[in-house]
């Protein structure tokens, strides 16, 4: 295969923000995750936990709570507004001011007809959910002190509200309080500190479960208003509770990073009376667990340490399968790094700004394993702050490095970058065609003459860019009827093809010469995570969330021989068990047989000329091959050349000079930037 010079880049200071709230739609198996910067992400649990949508945040918009009503997603935040999201356009559909000060919590009734929000001013406000909007209905009796958490009885008749030092139970019809449950404060020094009921669960048998800042999980009888059991689970706060669908299990997330499960079971074998018993403790977080979902088979948790953790309940899933594996999602499932192959530039996308870096240079040669002396250090050329309140949702850098574009939900900006030896100039293209208002994905053609922007309803806007002007050319539209956003765009090197993929798993191929749809790749059940068109053969390579790889010939409009062989033989089980998606595909211009792809923990060069790995073959066989004498290697080697030298990859790309660029963001670096966790007494500290 050969030697590669690798630019190992660790200066991308990507910092995910903390997970603030989650909501799970058990019908569609979609998890909505809100981060502290206001970003809302949608994960598809049926499709290998693929992060299919990202709704960018906005300065000043925080999300305290999320709520699914059917297919509709609502959020509420401390800005006092209730927001509904447009899941096809990936932006807020509208926001309604609740006029109750900051909103701490939002919940819907089980019928999906009403929303209740808990406000700073002590009111619980009920909104009716209408076809296209929501409408304020009434207030429940106003309480002294803010409403922190809400639990709606499945019958819809009662609402429990967690406040400071107490829980109020309302009759949802009349709005009167029927019970006030006084929550005991912590002991000792915290006696004087008021206790905040952070989370509430209201079960159909009128059991109320509360988690509070004194570290207690308490079980109340909602009919009599009496305390049934109290579990002190932590010295710190119990921040969040989640009840399983069948109401037999409750999980509680604490500031210590633990998740504690309680189950409604008989405590002894011969006893029929069931009670809530503390059963398991999961410790997957280093910081506060702020958001928690109890799905049918797993505990999904997230918090200050920014990672989404899916911890399958081993009594609910089959053991030793991929389903039973713990999954930590620490990196986005899309590329935040743009690479100008010809110019050796890297574009890093942050929510608030873009960074353009020039890679360094080395001198001399070395043997494998060596570090070459760096002659010229990498250089940050531009740090470009975005305009407006909306966060950057996508960005693109042209291959020549002369053009740079980014988009927010409200606008697209295009810049001309001029760079020669030691001068850098950047000029904003002031007049953009009005069709180019916002984009979900941006992409330049390889000759940098065109900009493609995926827009609403899976359409792609084609804009011609040159020194003088920026002209709208065409809108590419497919006819499949899907309105899902396009999350992947790829323009072929020869400038003839453009491939798009949307979250309905459709891949469309447009002929750019004719500016019309060429064909649609047969829809596969799993969402594509990366697509690319081969510069020589014009075959489309698509990799999907379930780790399948397809090669589709654009000329013949059919899967290639190699793809069929791959499907018949099947991919190696270790390949399929990887838990991060392939996010980027590139090709080797010198050797058309080479396809380079990467996920978070490895990059792989697929040599199509070599045989596919047998079922029993060692997939990662680089070490074995290294130890073998050269003539024997050929017999042992297979198509998948996997390199795990680099971890936590944000990008792997091949420059024109055939040197690889790997952008790493070590998890430790992210961890070290997190605030200090709550103090825990550990042995010998």
């Amino acid at each position: 295969m050969g030697e590669f010079k690798v630019h190992r880049v660790r200066f991308f200071d990507y910092m995910p923000s903390a997970i603030r709230a989650m909501a799970f739609n058990s019908c569609t198996e979609r998890l909505a995750v809100a981060r502290s910067d206001g970003t809302v992400e949608i994960f598809n649990f049926t499709d290998n936990y693929f992060q299919e949508k990202v709704i960018p945040g906005q300065d000043g918009r925080t999300v305290e709570a999320l709520c699914w009503v059917g297919q509709r997603l609502f959020s509420a935040g401390l800005n006092g507004e209730i927001t509904e999201y447009h899941l096809e356009n990936l932006r807020p559909r509208y926001a309604v001011e609740a006029y109750g000060g900051p909103i701490w919590t939002i919940t819907s009734n089980s019928q999906g007809t009403q929303l209740a929000v808990g406000c700073e001013d002590g009111t619980v406000k009920i909104f009716a959910i209408l076809e296209e909007r929501i409408q304020f209905q009434r207030n429940l009796n106003r309480q002294k002190g803010r409403i922190i958490s809400l639990g709606w009885h499945p019958s819809g008749a009662q609402i429990a509200a967690g406040m400071t030092d107490m829980i109020a139970v309302f009759d949802a019809e009349t709005g009167h309080t029927t019970h006030r449950l006084l929550v005991e404060r912590g002991v000792g020094a915290s006696k004087n500190k008021e206790v905040v009921v952070w989370s509430i669960g209201f079960l159909s048998n009128h059991t109320i479960i509360s988690g509070d800042s004194a570290g207690k999980v308490q079980i109340w009888d909602g009919l009599t208003g009496t305390l049934v059991r109290s579990y002190l689970v932590t010295r710190w706060d119990v921040l969040v509770l989640s009840v399983s669908q069948d109401e037999s299990s409750v999980i509680a997330g604490t500031s210590e990073g633990t998740v504690i499960q309680f189950q409604f079971i008989s405590s002894t074998v011969d006893q029929h009376e069931k009670e809530w018993v503390r059963t398991r403790t999961f410790r997957n977080h280093s910081h506060d667990v702020r958001a928690l979902i109890h799905t049918g088979t797993a505990v999904v948790s997230g918090g200050m340490d920014t990672q989404l953790v899916v911890r399958p309940l081993l009594d609910k899933v089959e053991r030793n399968t991929q389903e039973s594996a713990l999954r930590k999602i620490a990196f986005p499932h899309r590329s935040l790094v743009g690479c100008a192959k010809k110019a050796g530039l890297l574009l890093f996308q942050f929510p608030g700004h873009l960074e353009l870096w020039k890679l360094g240079e080395s001198e001399g040669h070395g043997k494998p394993g060596d570090c070459l002396p760096v002659k010229r250090k990498p250089e940050k050329l531009i740090e470009l702050k975005r305009k407006g309140e909306d966060h950057i949702c996508c960005s693109a850098l042209s291959a020549c490095g002369g053009w740079l574009a980014y988009s927010t939900v409200s606008s697209v900006c295009l810049y001309r970058v001029q760079y020669n030896s030691n001068n850098i100039g950047i000029k904003k293209v002031s007049k953009l065609p009005k069709e180019l208002r916002s984009a979900h994905q941006l992409c330049f053609s390889s000759d940098s003459s065109k900009l493609f922007a995926s827009s609403r309803q899976s359409s792609v806007i084609v804009v011609a860019v040159n020194q003088l002007e920026c002209k709208y050319l065409h809108t590419l539209q497919h006819k499949s009827g899907s309105r899902q956003p396009v999350h992947l765009l790829f323009a072929s090197d020869d400038g003839k093809w453009l491939a798009t993929a949307n979250t309905d798993c459709e891949i469309h191929i447009y002929n750019l010469h004719k500016l019309k749809l060429h064909c649609m790749v047969p829809v596969y059940s799993s969402c594509p995570t990366a697509i690319a068109i081969h510069p020589v053969t014009s075959n489309l390579i698509s990799v999907h969330a379930d780790q399948q790889i397809f090669e589709f010939s654009l000329v013949q409009k059919e899967y290639t021989q190699w793809s069929r062989k791959l499907q018949t033989q099947g991919l190696h089980s270790l390949w399929l068990e990887r838990d991060t998606p392939i996010t980027h595909i590139t090709f080797n211009p010198r050797n058309p047989d080479h396809i380079i792809l990467h996920d978070t923990f490895m990059f792989c060069i697929i040599d199509q000329s070599l045989p596919l790995p047998e079922v029993k073959a060692v997939l990662c066989n680089q070490m074995t091959l290294k130890s073998l004498p050269v003539p024997e290697r050929i017999g042992q080697s297979h198509a998948f050349k996997i390199c795990k030298n680099f971890q936590h990859l944000m990008c792997v790309s091949l420059l024109e000079d055939l040197s690889l660029v790997v952008v790493e963001r070590p998890l430790l670096d992210i961890m070290s930037q997190l605030p200090a966790p709550v103090h825990q007494k550990k042995f010998a500290t």
Partner: protein, 717 residues
Amino acid sequence: MAALYEGYTLCGLVPDQNVSSSGIQGIEEERDSDHVVVTDSTRSVTLYKVSDQKPLGSWTVKQGQKLTCAAVFNSQTNEYVAVTDNKVIRVWKEEDILLDKAFKATVSSDVWKVHCTHGGEPVVLFQRGAVRLLDSLLAAPQQTIEEVLVQEEAIRWSTIILAETQQFVIFTTEQKGDHFLYLQRLNPNSLQRYRLEREEPGLSPLSFSATYRDKHICLLYLYPNGHVYKSVHSVRGLGTEEGAQPIPLPRTLLLSLPVVDGLLEAASAMALDEAHVAVVGVPHPSAGAGKDFLCIWNTNFQTVQAGKEMAGKLYGQLWSYSNKVFIPHGKTLSVIPFECTKSSLAAAVGKLRHAPASVPSWNNILHGEKAQPSKSVETRRTRTRKTQSTPNLTIDQVLELIKTAPVEEIQKEVEGFLTRADLQDLQPSVGQLASTLVSRSLADPAFYSSSTLTQLVHTQCLCHSVCPDLVLLALEKKDYFLCQLCLQFFPDIPEAVTCACLKTFISMPDVDAEKVSLEPDSVSFMETLISREHAEAGLQNGFSPIFLEEDCPDAVRGRQTKAEDKEKASAPSKLICPVGLHKAALLNEVLQTAYSEAFLLPHLKDLSSQHVVLFLQYLQFLYLKYSQDALPQMDGVRSPSLAQIMDWVCLLLDAHFTVLVMTPEAKGLLLNLHSFVKSQVRLVSELGKIEGSLQELNKLKVKESVGQYSIEIIELF
């Protein structure tokens, strides 16, 4: 140890016509421990500040009136309460100058006494036994007072005691030679009557003293025959059966004071604390018949701990407030500070040096170092008490003494010398003492002072080179305890001597060894080691040396021995120590001494093969014990280490290998030892294998931390 310090005079006395009375009716504590109210037997009440020896105020009743009870101070109201002419209660404050103008109330019955605890309300005890709180009495002074006592019964003594929050009035009565004790509880009121056991006919108690301690009232009473009895009564157990038959009060004889001639007349005993009793008017046990002594007795040891001869007549009166004794004697009322420290037996028998803390004496301060008569008396007395001891001897004198004196005297003097001498300059003199002792013992076979030598070795200032003959002398005299100590404490015992010890120890019959008293730690170590036979035979690191015997080539041993061995192997906990407990303890000392192989080896060859086999068996036993149990190096107890044991095994084998090979009874032993060696070799080789892989870890290149950017070369195959 109790001590009486220099006393001082509080005031002069005006003894009235009746010579037997001191003229003092009572002394009561006032606002604090430094103020007392002294009531004389006629008309006046005086307030004194004790440390200043100065009256602060005085009140007198009119001519013709008479104080019939001691004035008390009510600290709640800062008022004084006294009774005149039995029926008139007078209450006044410090500012009141004239007593006649102060408040007075006449009650309907004769008052015996007014009592008041510090901080409590005054309580009036009537002559007929009734008790009233002063306030309730003064609210209706003419209320009828019931008669508690029968016709011919009369109160002899009374006091008040505060038991936590409960006040008790305690009084004793006499009725036709019978004595009774009444315990009157106040609030809620309850009365209990006890009969005091009769002493010899016609004797009635001279004095009473009551104290409260640990929920018990302790009553102390002195009879003229010198017997001091103690009755302890629980506060809790007080019943309320009024009018019932008096319960006999159990008593214990606390002290039997020496009464030289006849009976005591004016004497009293007072409890100072749980162990000390102050006695006045009783002869000092070592000072003849004179009764004018104030003594502090320790009741635990029945000894006088402090004594003071009082000038002038004693009246048998004694008060004590806060470490001061108030005692009227002759024509003065003296205050004598005292101190009762916890006594140990050593202090009681005079072994512990006790330097009395110097309490500044007012006489010294005010009048300079003027000799006080009482002091001179005291010194005289103490002198006579001291045993006729020779003055402290210097080292040279002691050395001279050693050359001639009998064992006991030497022992005493050396002991005295050691306690006197400073540890720093002990080193040379201890050496001199020891070598002189040893040389005398060598010269005079009849002379041997084991305990003195032991003491000297215990100082840890000795070593072998200072007196080279000591160990051998001890061996010769069969003083194995001394040998053990020498082996323990001497860092420089030559190998020849060690070997001599070993030889003696190993050849000593077990019966003899068991008679020797040895250092208890070493014996207890062996005891635990042996007693572990019963404990579960645990494997250490999964390694059991016993089972390795299976590796022994079958050809070497006969079937019989194999069967035996198997039996042994199947019951490893049945290891039997081949030597006795004490012998083992002595051998352990030998194992722990320092040696160098080259010097030891020739001496080891002197051992007989029999002894070598026995010693090897013992070492084998130790080795098995050590490897079978968790390491028995118990907390800080001196014990031979596994390495020491193995070294000795090797040494013995080296020294006697040819002999052992020829000795038939050593064959099994040698085979066993062979298996040890094999197991050790195997263990070491296993460790060697591990070492190889561990070193690989070491070789692994530590990845240098990657910086922000680097350009690397990789190769894919």
